[in-house]
Symmetry: none
Subunit: 121 residues, 2 copies
DNA sequence: CCTATACTGAACCACATGGTTCAGCATTAT
DNA sequence: ATAATGCTGAACCATGTGGTTCAGTATAGG
């Protein structure tokens, strides 16, 4: 078994990379649901849905509890705060990079205006 | 070939679900880099790194250009704005749910029903 | 007790992923 | 002209993914 340690972001972003799972999260944000209910809503087998829920559970985004024969799925305690923070930080770097290009363009324009006015003398 | 249509979020969150690729994005936010440079920095073969860059490129997060024998990788025009927005919306739903502010959930449901019915015609 | 319901687990499938090696090919440097 | 550099593509490998079916087990209801 190679069993690379799966980072938190690996599993949470991985969980989000599937439309069904994003749908399940949105659904659970509205109300708790059983595996059966989710399976019906997303048109797949119980077994298939259970796997998706398992992935979300692994990522800490969902918790489940079985009472009687029904397993109820709820949103997990963990939100997506750290993921949001990562993306936000990246977006800052990204825009700095692009604004940086703009700054260079501005700089070139400035120089050109200066050069032109110098030549015009 | 089944070739399911890959949604934008599927590929962008998928791209983010790997530590190496997140690292490459952070690196490129600092400066453009060749495949060789990235491969060296993340200790893997050229071929391996090229695949990662390919995934990022598919997701629209990176663009590359080959000049002579060097392929230079830069951040793509597309940032992570829509991904940030999705997460932000989810976080609102999540905290509403946890704060027990069911009224907020109801409000969002109402808005969405409205938006959906508007989109549907 | 009997049946329907809800889930669970194993096994299977096709295809994706994250890596590798090896054999090129084009470009640059000597 | 030769050699080194940088990338590329094909093939391979182990494991993961997103689904299925089928055969159970446990619980609820009549």
């Amino acid at each position: 078994m190679v069993q690379h340690y799966q980072g938190q972001f690996d599993s949470s972003f991985g969980a989000l990379s599937d439309a069904t799972r994003r749908g399940v999260l949105e659904q659970l944000a509205r109300e708790d649901a059983s595996i059966t209910a989710l399976a019906a809503r997303f048109q797949m087998t119980l077994t298939g849905m259970k796997k998706h829920v398992g992935v979300l559970e692994q990522a800490g985004l969902v918790t489940t509890e079985k009472v009687g024969r029904v397993r109820t799925c709820k949103l997990g305690v963990r939100g997506l705060d750290e993921e949001a923070a990562w993306i936000e930080r990246y977006r800052q770097l990204w825009s700095a990079r692009f604004d940086g290009l703009d700054a260079v363009v501005e700089e070139l324009k400035r120089k050109e205006r200066k050069a032109r006015s110098t030549n015009e003398k």
